[in-house]
């Protein structure tokens, strides 16, 4: 009994951290694909890095006072908002550092100053996302009420099409801003095949975590949904494929890819744009 309670405590803490990290990804991913932020991080002086951390602390503290990333808020004592702020900043720093390593913006050859600068400046939007996690796609009473009132369940095919459409819309909203920029080919030039495999794995894990782990919406309802591919794993994989198709189309639409390009170029560019598109697609499915 005591062991089960202990496990529940750790599970709920892990869920809170995953929710925070997913909020960070939803908010921070567009700026991760912005080379100006990499440059600012590379060139910034230590004084400005310190100021960025201080400013981030103040803003996240204020955001945590109203929202935060924890399901059960602790605002009985003033220091509890401070501890939540420290945790939000740490989650933002870890997520942005991992993503910068994944996209090869930080390598062994990168100098310490450049790496720290990039991590701090990229962690600002991530940390804001962590602090706003409950605000994004959080459980709303309206949704719960409407789900209780809605006695007519949609057919399997309709539910499947609704999910596909939501994935497409979400992927387009996020990736449409990134597709015409030069960041995608720049990242493609820096990554090798093993890193592309890591990007595929990260896309799938983040998408699964946003929809089925972070507790942004009624997860039980989603897990029980019946449809052609509406099991957590198959839904994640099919949605990823839909996001990849949308990414390839967007790259072709903006003349970043043409039919005369080799298939490997199509694959690399699509996988790189597929990461933000998948995150957008996951958010889109939560919104329906």
């Amino acid at each position: 009994m005591a062991l089960k309670r202990q496990q529940n405590i750790f599970k709920s803490e892990l869920n809170d951290i995953v929710r925070g990290a997913c909020g960070g990804f939803l908010f921070g991913i567009p700026l991760l694909y912005t080379m100006e932020v990499w440059w600012v991080g590379s060139l910034v002086k230590a004084q400005l890095m310190m100021s960025a951390i201080a400013l981030m602390f103040v803003v996240v503290f204020l955001l945590n006072k109203t929202e935060g990333f924890r399901k059960l808020q602790r605002r009985q004592r003033p220091y509890e908002v401070i501890t939540d702020t420290i945790e939000a900043i740490a989650i933002g720093i870890i997520c942005s550092a991992l993503m910068l390593i994944l996209l090869r913006e930080i390598t062994i050859a990168t100098s310490l100053k450049e790496a720290i600068g990039k991590i701090i400046f990229e962690s600002v939007p991530f940390t804001f996302g962590v602090a706003l996690a409950n605000q994004f796609l959080g459980e709303s009473n309206n949704n719960q009420e409407s789900s209780h009132n809605n006695h007519q369940k949609p057919s399997n095919l309709n539910a499947t099409f609704a999910d596909l459409g939501a994935t497409l819309i979400g992927a387009t909203v996020i990736a449409f801003n990134i597709a015409p920029t030069d960041e995608v080919p720049m990242i493609v030039a820096a990554v090798s095949a093993p890193w592309l495999l890591a990007i595929i794995a990260a896309s799938l894990v983040i998408s699964y975590a946003i929809v089925f782990q972070a507790g942004f919406s009624d997860q039980q309802k989603r897990k029980q949904q019946k449809g052609i591919f509406q099991r957590p794993l198959s839904e994640t994989v099919i949605s990823y494929l839909v996001s990849l198709i949308a990414s390839a189309f967007m790259l072709w639409f903006f003349h970043k890819l043409s039919f005369s390009n080799p298939w490997s170029m199509w694959l690399e560019n699509t996988l790189i744009l597929g990461l933000p598109a998948t995150i957008g697609g996951a958010a889109g499915r939560l919104a329906i």
Partner: protein
């Protein structure tokens, strides 16, 4: 329990998260401090020459 309700006390898992978070923040601040000191040193050397 709704999101707006408060929890009474910090669990061991939350203490672990806080400790790790403090550790990460301490590392980042120390590294920035180290870079700052090095920047100052190099600026001083430049003016000495």
């Amino acid at each position: 329990m709704s999101r707006s309700e408060s929890k009474a006390e910090r669990t061991p898992a939350e203490w672990i998260t806080l400790s790790i978070s403090l550790f990460i923040l301490a590392i980042i601040i120390s590294l920035v401090g180290y870079i700052w000191i090095n920047e100052k040193k190099s600026t001083t050397n430049y003016f000495c020459q």
